[in-house]
């Protein structure tokens, strides 16, 4: 495993291009585009103000930089560095900006969700979509880029509009039987749309592309409902994480629940492997200890070595007591993601923030639990294989695969606190983002990985 040198970064804005050739990162108002393999700077663009959001177009030819404070969007071309485009939303303000899948239109959401403006880079035409709903996930494109589903709110009722992306024509418009629609998401095959209600009510609705209601699912009533939703890459399963600390898996044939994954705080089944991150105290060299320990030695916690140990069951995980009198309690399944091969599901229960649960979807049972020393910030699957990268805001990055589990210290002087990770689409490298730096971690090729994971005996 090799690490690149550390580069500057601001606002955690670092993205690989969709074709995997380039890496865009932001430093204040500057946008830096590097070659993803050599990390040499290809282009450097300067925006008018601090960049708050970047996004690559689907064909990797353009990069969009949103400057929300100014209500501005600046677009840069990779092929023609001199080409530029500036979109000013003026007094309407700007809260979100994204590309359409064809890479030639930009969808800007104005402040207060007054409207969505669709700017075309090909023609001078501008389209408006009124009444967008301000919710968790109100815009979703199908994987093939043909259709856009949009959550709307009119007359105190929720609606979903399905638009054809090629000419922005309305294809279907229907109301959803929800109190307060919280999000919509297309299945990867683009034929089923999942829509779920806000956390006050557990309700998930499944619509066909032509607007027919396929099924509704409600696991329970009264208590807080859905917190997170994820489709499996094969569109076969829909995982629904809720505030009761359970993940429910729905199938695509009957849209009924197949199984229910609870997240108990104690693990008794000896078949489940519990990897526990343990601090490895460096071997003490007696007689060499200076009495007032030098400042470097009394450094931050993250510099201490750590390794995974296989804990013997029963294991009880650290749980947080949720504050009952606060809104948005720290309970329920906050994050869940399917592996690209559909075989595994990684989840995080917010009441057990230090643990990542990995479920075997083929056997529909818990496979492994990774208990970290600190709360898990984010995890992401390798886009090519069943390999999960986890970061906890410390100086290490953690990788899990069915073969085992490793913790890797990010080298370099100073403190590199990994706040987020981002995979290259080939799965060969991984961008590690800290508050104001980033570096790339190059993983070995297949054989190398095999040997690296073969050493897990040492780590356990």
């Amino acid at each position: 495993m090799n690490f690149s040198e550390v580069f500057k970064l601001s606002s955690l804005l670092c993205k690989f291009s969709p074709d995997g050739k380039y890496l865009a990162s932001c430093v204040q108002y500057r946008l830096v585009v590097r070659d993803a393999s050599t990390l040499q700077i290809c282009q450097l663009y300067a925006c008018l103000d601090q960049i708050q959001h970047i996004e690559w177009s689907a064909d990797s030819l353009f990069i969009l930089c949103a400057l929300y404070k100014r209500g501005l969007v600046q677009v840069w071309s990779l092929e023609q560095p001199e080409w530029h485009c500036k979109i000013d939303e003026g007094s309407a303000g700007l809260v979100a900006s994204c590309w359409s899948p064809d890479g030639r239109h930009i969808l800007n959401t104005t402040e207060f969700h007054l409207r969505i403006t669709v700017w075309s880079l090909c023609t001078k035409s501008v389209s408006y979509i009124k009444y967008p709903k301000a919710c968790q996930q109100g815009i979703t494109f199908t994987r093939d880029g043909r259709y856009l589903a949009l959550a709307e709110r009119r007359d105190c009722k929720d609606y979903v509009s399905i638009l054809v992306c090629s000419d922005w024509q309305l294809l279907r418009h229907f109301d959803t039987d929800t109190q307060d629609l919280a999000g919509i998401e297309w299945a990867p095959n683009g034929c089923v749309l999942a829509a779920w209600d806000s956390c006050l009510e557990y309700k998930i609705l499944l619509y066909s592309l032509d607007g027919r209601l396929l099924s509704t699912f409600c696991a329970y009533e009264w208590s807080l409902g859905i917190k997170s939703v994820a489709w499996s890459p094969s569109s076969q399963f829909l995982a629904v994480g809720s505030y009761d600390g359970k993940v429910r898996i729905l199938n695509h044939v009957t849209w009924k629940m197949i199984t229910e994954f609870g997240h108990p705080a104690t693990i008794n089944n000896p078949k489940i492997v519990v990897y526990k991150e343990a601090e490895k105290s460096p071997p003490l060299v007696l007689g060499r200890l200076a009495f007032p320990p030098p400042r470097a030695a009394a450094g931050p916690l993250s510099s201490t070595e750590s390794e995974y140990e296989v804990a013997s069951v029963p294991v009880s995980l650290q749980t947080l007591k949720p504050a009952a009198d606060r809104a948005n309690p720290r309970i329920g399944i906050g994050a869940l993601a399917f592996s690209p091969d559909n075989c595994f599901l990684a989840t995080r229960s917010d009441s057990v923030p230090t643990a990542v649960w990995i479920w075997d979807i083929q056997k529909l049972r818990l496979l492994a639990v990774l208990e970290q020393l600190s709360a898990v910030r984010c995890f992401q699957w390798d886009p090519r294989q069943a390999r999960l990268a986890i970061c906890t805001g410390g100086g290490k990055v953690y990788l899990w695969s069915p073969a085992g589990c490793v913790s890797v210290q990010v080298p370099g002087e100073g403190d590199f606190q990994v706040l987020s990770v981002c995979w290259h689409l080939s799965g060969d490298s991984l961008a590690l983002l800290s508050k104001d730096h980033f570096c790339l971690c190059f993983l070995e090729t297949e054989q190398g990985v095999g040997t690296a994971f073969g050493q897990r005996g040492d780590h356990m």
Binding site: D88, G90, R104, L121, T123
Partner: protein
């Protein structure tokens, strides 16, 4: 006693009458007293009697007594008068009789008195006891009454509590109802307010929209250096009714594709399941057909009919075309037949289980035979599995080809490519390769074993020759032998008989045979050896010779001097070591090669040793 009482009563009356008539003597009271008084008075009675009768009043006393006695029914004390004028004389006999009778009476009375007294005592104690009992019972009654009162009190309290709880529950229920109502009303109020606010918000939004957007905001603009071409290179099309229709068409096309893909998947899965079912059916038939004779003989009606069904089904099976039909009749037939066969199989398995348990009860008689059977079964099973896998692969290949032929567009083909049927196929391929490898290994093993057997045969021949030559020598040396005995016996007697044997080469020779004889101990080798080697007596020969040797060696060690025995011991150690190496069954190939190498080593050592 009763009699006595009845008798006394009229008497006492009579006495009172009489005493009123006659003048009372002072002692008359006493006489009455005597009758009634108790024993302690008897002394006084005597003294009174002495006082009663004095010299002077004998006559009076006698008459008085006579009167008294006659009134009591005794005979008169006087002799019967001959005449009225003559004075009657005292009849002594009568007096004595009277006295005797009185005494008897007295005794009787005393006895009765005693009885009465004891009875009295008894009754008194009874009375006491009963009184105690009564007191006790009274106490008990009192306590139980108290208890009852306590219980009643508790019951009352509990009832009171219960009533309170009921009341509380009711209150709570009311409360819950009230709260629910409150929640519902609040929710509706909230929703209403929300709606109102949202409407207001919408109005505001609308207003803001108007204000912000319709002001001809110069700022809202896009500055582009030059417009870029569309990603697909086409020009934008006008919005017409046509495009709308086209969009609809496209959408339905996508949906249709999805459904088709799913149907295809389901069909494939169905086909595979059918295959599995078919396979299962075939296997069941093949499994159950050898036994169909037996149940028939047993004249078991149900199984008999079912088996005939199976035969019919088997006939049907040959017509593969029926399997492609997915109409309901075929499905029903299939499920029915499978169900029947499953029933038979179940009963059969149960029977087998019973048998097995019986066998277990009988005890493990000949494990060796069972293990061999198991071995054979295992090989059969493996062969069957290989067959199945072959068939599976073939059918899957066919399916794949069909698929490839039918799947015209690349999209579905690529989608189909990663469906799990292929995974299955991959897995089967792997399994197949594994089987192949195993088969190869088995063959290799067999080959090595045959080689070893041939080598063994050769060695045996050499040994036989050697032995013949040695025997000849022996025969020449020892003329006093019994020629009628068998070779083995000869050998034995020769070894045991000659204690002063001094040829060291012969000492070592049989010992070197040990490693060859020893493999016969391992079960795997025996089966192979007995199969490949028809000359099994050789092994028995070895065994016998070995036994002889062991006996002999002990004798020889006893007899030989330390210098002589040393090389022998070394040799034995050597061979033993070699054997241990060979016997480790780590890998089949390694084992075989090890075997052969030891054989070779043994050859060499045999040549080297003196």
């Amino acid at each position: 006693m009763g009699d006595w009482m009845t008798v006394t009563d009229p008497e006492s009356k009579y006495i009172s009458q009489y005493t009123s008539e006659t003048k009372m003597s002072p002692s008359s009271l006493y006489s009455q007293q005597v009758l009634c008084s108790s024993i302690p008075l008897s002394k006084n009675v005597h003294s009174f009697f002495s006082a009663f009768c004095t010299e002077e009043n004998i006559e009076q006393s006698i008459s008085y007594l006579d009167q008294e006695l006659t009134t009591f029914g005794f005979p008169s004390l006087y002799e019967e008068s001959k005449g009225k004028e003559t004075k009657r004389g005292l009849n002594i006999v009568a007096v004595l009789n009277c006295m005797n009778e009185l005494l008897v009476l007295q005794r009787k009375n005393l006895l009765a008195q005693e009885n009465v007294e004891t009875q009295n005592l008894k009754l008194g104690s009874d009375m006491d006891h009963l009184q105690n009992c009564y007191a006790k019972l009274k106490e008990q009654l009192e306590t139980s009454r108290r208890e009852m009162i306590g219980l009643q009190e508790r019951d009352r309290q509990l009832q009171c509590k219960n009533r309170n709880l009921h009341q509380l529950l009711k209150n709570e229920k009311d409360e819950v109802q009230k709260l629910q109502n409150i929640i519902a009303s609040r929710a509706t109020q909230y929703n209403h307010d929300m709606k109102r606010k949202e409407r207001e918000y919408n109005k505001l939004k609308e207003r803001l929209h108007q204000l912000v957007m319709n002001k001809k905001d110069k700022k809202i603009a896009m500055e582009v250096l030059n417009y870029v071409g569309r990603a697909d290179g086409k020009r934008g099309s006008w919005r017409t009714g046509k495009t709308e229709a086209r969009n609809e068409d496209e959408m339905y096309k996508i949906l249709l594709n999805d459904y088709e893909y799913r149907q295809k998947q389901i069909l494939m899965e169905n086909a595979e399941l059918k295959k599995v079912l078919q396979q299962m059916k075939k296997e069941m038939i093949s499994l159950l057909s050898p036994q169909k004779q037996k149940p028939r003989e047993r004249a078991d009606d149900s199984t008999g009919t079912v088996i005939s069904d199976i035969e019919e089904d088997a006939g049907e099976l040959s017509r593969e075309s029926t399997w492609d039909l997915s109409c309901e009749t075929v499905r029903e037939q299939l499920t029915n037949s499978i169900r029947k066969q499953w029933r038979i199989l179940k009963s059969h398995v149960e029977k087998l289980d019973n048998q097995v348990s019986k066998v277990h009860l009988e005890g493990f008689n000949d494990e060796d035979v069972i293990s061999r059977q198991d071995h054979e079964q295992e090989t059969e099973k493996l062969e069957l599995e290989i067959q199945q896998c072959k068939e599976m692969i073939k059918t899957q290949q066919q399916l794949l080809q069909q698929q490839l032929a039918t799947a015209c567009d690349d999209d579905t083909a690529s989608l189909l490519r990663d469906c799990y049927l292929l995974e299955e196929k991959e897995r089967l391929k792997e399994e197949w390769s594994l089987f192949k490898e195993q088969k190869k290994n088995f063959e290799k093993e067999r080959r090595s074993f045959t080689e070893a057997a041939i080598r063994l045969g050769l060695e045996r021949k050499a040994f036989e020759e050697e032995r013949a030559s040695w025997l000849k020598q022996q025969f020449l040396n020892m003329t006093t032998f019994d020629h009628q005995n068998s070779e083995n016996v000869k050998l034995f007697s020769a070894f045991s008989g000659s204690s002063d044997w001094d040829n060291p080469t012969v000492h070592s020779r049989p010992r070197q045979k040990k490693p060859h004889g020893a493999p016969s101990g391992s079960p795997v080798c025996t089966s192979k050896l007995t199969k490949s080697l028809p000359a099994s007596p050789s092994t028995s020969d070895f065994c016998q010779t070995r036994s002889c040797v062991s006996e002999y060696s002990s004798i020889s060690v006893l007899n030989t001097t330390p210098e002589e025995s040393k090389p022998n011991q070394v040799g034995r150690e050597c061979t033993n070591q070699k054997w241990s190496v060979a016997s480790r069954p780590d890998s089949q190939e390694g084992c075989c090669s090890g075997c052969s190498s030891t054989h070779a080593d043994a050859h060499i050592e045999k040549d080297d040793l003196p």
